[in-house]
Amino acid sequence: MGRKVVLMEKEKNKIAEILQEKNKAVRDEKYKQYVEQVTPKFSIVKNCIAAYIVGGIICVIGQGLTNFFLSRTGDLELSKAYTTLCLVFLSVFLTGVGLYQKLAKFGGAGTLVPITGFANSVAAPAVEYKKEGQVFGIGCKVFTIAGPVILYGIFSSWVLGLIYYILKQIGIV
């Protein structure tokens, strides 16, 4: 009880400090700290567990598909390609019927990190911007979310390739 009163007193002083601060930059910084304190946050533990479960299930489905195709074709590379195709289709389908967003709300990064998340980030703008036409709508905006991933993904693999090439030339790897 006594501790709570002290805490409240401290809080009150903080607000007085914000309101009396003449320097805008200092005031803004103090306000930012105060806001961070009073804004509720997601529980990281809960989010991690949900992401682990959902992401895990997606991966299990992927592994199941790979095993299935492998037993049919006997070719691992081909099976992986089929698996990717299936997962992307599944994600796009769920996006189209409006279910992927609900899954992502629960699963968080568990739905974002696998390839299904990437497929969703391309399918969602396609659905949304279809109304603005094939060229200026879908054409221009389909990669609004996935664009940075594609650009910087390709760029960073180019940089890594370059580093690998140089290291190889000087005989380190």
């Binding site: 009150k12 607000i15 005031r27 306000y31 930012k32 806001v35 409006g98 992502a104 969703n120």
Partner: protein
Amino acid sequence: MTENVSGNIQASGMDNGADIGKIVGKQSVAFKNPPYIISASSIAGKKEGEGPLGALFDQIVEDPMFGQENWESAESELMKMTAQLALAKAGLKNTDIRYLIGGDLLCQLIATSFGIAELGIPVFGIFGACSTMGEAMILGSALVEGGFAEKVMAITSSHFAGAEKQFRFPLDYGNQRPYSASWTVTGSGAVIISNQQDPKKKDGEPDLVITGFTTGKIVDYGIKDSMNMGAAMAPAAFETIKQNFEDFNIRPDYYDRIITGDLGYIGKNILLEFLKEQNYDISGQHMDCGIEIFNQEDQDTHAGGSGCGCSAITFAGYILKQLKERKWKRVLFVPTGALLSQVSYNEGNTIPCIAHAVMVEAR
């Protein structure tokens, strides 16, 4: 400061019969002949209809597309329906309205322009983000009381999907909204402000009048997180409400309710704490439209409702009803707006905010 017979506040000493007597304090106006609110309409979407205020709105439209091809046209249609309903409820034709003052959240106000085009009413398009209803009512009542119009319609709208598309992500994109994020209300509200009493008013019903207003300044406390609009806007509401108290030399208990637009749970707490620090305790009077409009737990709306439509339909559907039934006598209606754009956000700017206070009374 005296309260004259009609209950209208006037600044004493300044009132020498000239129009200058309407100017009060630093940012406020007290009308000599308070204009009347003679009609109001509110149309809401399905989710809003399922909320605690659902039964109070004139109409609930289940189809989020409002029978149109895209979100933007849907919002235009919604606004047109709301304008027509306000006219119908007052028994007026569009030609009876001298000016329409309205705005919305979409770029270049396309919901408003396309929505009201066929009404053929002279228009002032305004942008105040979610504070638009307050701004429209202030300008509308000033035009009426100043003698520049007999009847003015103030109108605004917002649409969840249109706002998400413009400010955040495509609807089907899988992301997690933080607890501080608000839920844009699909809804449109309109009022008709007149220099004449409501001829359709029943016996014993009070007149609903706008007695004055306090115009807000741009207030920016450096918040950059567009998913925490309540915290960004709270200082704006704080400054406008405080200015209203100071300009009129009144205490919070002058009002039965002090109603902010869409601060939500986080912004509300900040506002109350800030005012308490300045020795204004409004915890007994304060209400926030964003909190009232949804059931936070069941409807999963996190910090509360937001958008132009949030305060507009709450005002038209709920607040005016309470005044009309004499449950409240005087309210301060303070819609709050976050004036950011996606460009300013991407460029790393802070969120400039505003709050306008409209004084509404049943008498």
